[in-house]
């Protein structure tokens, strides 16, 4: 574990030292992959191995970093693009944080990992956008997406996309305000402990519909007032006690409180 931490620290330091020059505009896949390999060796290989084959600590019986062979460019784009990778410290789950690499570097890393073995590619914008559809088709897509969402996603991510708890300190993160591309990639690649929803499982159109539904939730107003975190009855109960009972007891104290007294006597009394 200490070794791992040390490695992560080193990674950060080395990374700043080796920060690459601006990427050239026209690069072939191979050049990009080669560039990505250099970045990989510096930033990722400590956990994922020199060739992305993954490192298992046989002695301690756990995996330092999983194999990246066949995870595809989409997985890299998601993990690095949302800041989950590189890992800052070992934890039950890699949290979303500040993104370390710039877009070109992420593309290079993705190209390198994709070159290891075929895997899901980074989706195009038209894969997850309903821009091209007619109004009627859009509405249908949103409704269908809602049903797919409620069947496959709410169990972990909650009805509002607010996220939920998983065993042993894990959690399903919030889906609100996550860029569509990352939602698509997450379904495609199953990051961390999330199951896959590969294209054979949910077709790209179905994934697009889910994203359209989530987008529609962002666009519709909160009809009933502030959402209380969208966590369901627990936060509602808390609000009922604090605002309802708290406020009303406050009023009760005011009603029963003695008003100010005068030192004077009443004239006719």
């Amino acid at each position: 574990m200490v070794l791992l931490l040390l490695g992560l620290l080193l990674t950060g330091g080395l990374y700043t030292a080796f920060s690459p020059a601006q990427a050239q505009e026209q690069e072939s896949e191979a050049e990009l992959a080669a560039q990505g390999r250099e970045l990989f060796l510096v930033g990722c290989s400590f956990c994922h191995g020199q060739n992305g084959e993954g490192i298992s600590d046989a002695r301690e019986g756990y995996q330092v970093g999983p194999s990246l062979v066949g995870v595809g460019a989409a997985a890299v784009d998601f993990q690095v693009g949302t800041g989950r990778m590189p890992l800052a410290q070992p934890a039950a789950q890699a949290p979303k944080k500040k993104v370390v690499y710039n877009e070109e570097e992420i593309a290079a890393l993705a190209a390198y990992v994709a070159s290891l073995a075929p895997g899901p590619a980074i989706p195009d914008a038209e894969d997850y956008s309903i821009e091209g559809l007619s109004a009627g088709e859009r509405e249908e897509a949103i409704v269908r997406g809602g049903q797919i969402f409620l069947t496959n996603c709410t169990a972990c991510h909650n009805f509002n996309g607010s996220g939920g708890a998983m065993p042993r300190g894990g959690y399903a993160p919030t889906l609100r305000d996550v860029p569509p591309r990352y939602i698509f990639e997450a379904m495609l690649t199953g990051p961390q402990n999330m199951p896959n929803f590969s294209n054979g499982n949910l077709s790209p159109e179905e994934k697009r519909d889910v994203i359209a539904y989530l987008g529609s939730l962002n666009e519709t107003p909160e009809y009933g007032g502030f959402g209380l975190g969208g966590l369901g009855p627990v936060s509602e109960g808390l609000a009922g006690w604090i605002v309802g009972i708290g406020g009303l007891v406050g009023f009760a104290v005011w009603i029963a409180a003695h008003t100010t007294r005068s030192t004077k006597e009443k004239a006719e009394a």
């Binding site: 949103i142 409620l150 709410t154 169990a155 909650n158 009805f159 996220g163 708890a165 309802g244 009760a252």
Partner: protein, 582 residues
Amino acid sequence: MSVDTSKVATSNANKAATPKNGGPAGSIANWADERLGLATVMKKNLRKVFPDHWSFMLGEIALWSFVVLLLTGVFLTLWYTPSMGEIQYNGSYDQLRGIHMSEAMASTLNISFDVRGGLLMRQMHHWAATVFVASMMVHLLRVAFTGAHRKPRELNWVIGCLLLLLGTLEGFTGYSLPDDLLSGTGIRAADGFLKATPVVGTYMSFFLFGGEFPGEAIIPRLYTIHVLLIPGILLALIAAHMLLLVYHKHTQWPGPGRTEQNVVGFPMLPVYAAKAGGFFFIVFGVIALMGALLTINPVWKFGPYDPTKVTAGSQPDWYMGWPDGLLRLMPGVESVIFGYTISWNVMVPILIVPPLMLVILMVLPFIESWVTGDKREHHLLQRPRNAPTRTAVMVALMTFYGLAWAAGGNDIIAIRFDLSINQITYFLRAAIFIGPLIAFWITRRWCISLQRHDNETLLHGYETGVIMRSADGGYSERHLPIDGARAYEITARDRDEIYELESDVDGNGVAAPGTRVNALRAKLSKSMFADNVQKPTTEELTEAHHHAEHEHQLQAGLDHPADGHQFDGHDSAVEGHELRSR
């Protein structure tokens, strides 16, 4: 409007009675009184005295939120359709348009999106329910902590407990009606509870649901229970609760002029009527405010119930949270005896512990009066510290409840505080047993030390914060006697009497009947009272005061009373003495 009896005609002969004088109000009053005899009923009650204290208004919150529930509930029934018949939704909420759902869910969406003010009323109804049960709970705690459930109010306590139970059931049946994903999940869990009942479980489930879960009978049946059966019983019990309150007259805090034989406060008309009536509008207003600004149960996001779907954070409303928490804490124990399954994992947290808790709550005043042997009427409240064991028992029960409640929200706690649900559950499994014991012990000792502190104050006065230096260089803090009214308030409590077993045998040397029970009673009485601090006797007080006077004499050079305010410019109460110029 008081009835002026002088305006009522004295004659009741063949000739129509006419008021001696007075305008239309007088004649209406006369008309009514000749038929209803109102004046006799009202003369006693119009000026009935109610004591004034904020904690006496907690029950009122419950009463008024119940009225809000009735009003908003009637509004909702005008549009709600209690049917599980399947229709296609074609209302205004885009994301569900075209989806097949029950009429109950569709009409709920209709109320939320196509009836002006409908969503407001729905949210107000739900918030009022939340506040209703919560205020019953704090009212119950106030009553228990102040000993207001002692004779003659035990039956009203029992009625109150039943109201809490019914309010909870009313809440459950109510939030199940929209037939959305969350409520359907709750009903399915309830079906699981029924099925776990030994012998008759599956029969009960099939009878309630009119067949196999989910069937199409449950929503209409819950609706009838929700709008007719339970509200009817609630209304009757609330009426009984209020009548008994009026008959017994409200309890009051002890204080100068406030005794067991009187009730001191403001008259029903006009002050109490204004305060209570005004409070109704305030409760209504606060609930309207919550309905306006805080989303509760956004059914449109849950979508219609579908037995194959579920959402993270599937929890019941808060008042059902603690049995749900017990369910989460209970390890998975199930036994098969003679081929029949007994699901302890469901029975213990749902069918055994909650009813048991309710029974414990209801018998509390009876157990207490049995142990203490106290059969007197009590109209003066006790400060919680003056009944250390009872206070500690209540705190222990609250701790149990609170921990179970926390368990009911363990997944939300886990994500909000970055913890593991497994660790929270393991911790709470132990804490639910240990926590109440620790809470009991701490509370009891705390109360007793507060009692001790009261006695200190009575005997040696309060701490003025003035440090005195004696001639030989020692320092001490000056204590001054507290004022008479305050001192009386502190001593206005009974001395505890420990019940002692007189003799195990009766006159003939034969073991007396009931000795064993009485021995238990003596033991309980001792553990309940033996450690309590009793208020000082007259002798102790006199002696302490003599002692204080002696001290005063020793403290020569300070020939004026000090109240601790000499140096902050607030010593106006001490006349004729100026320690510093102002």
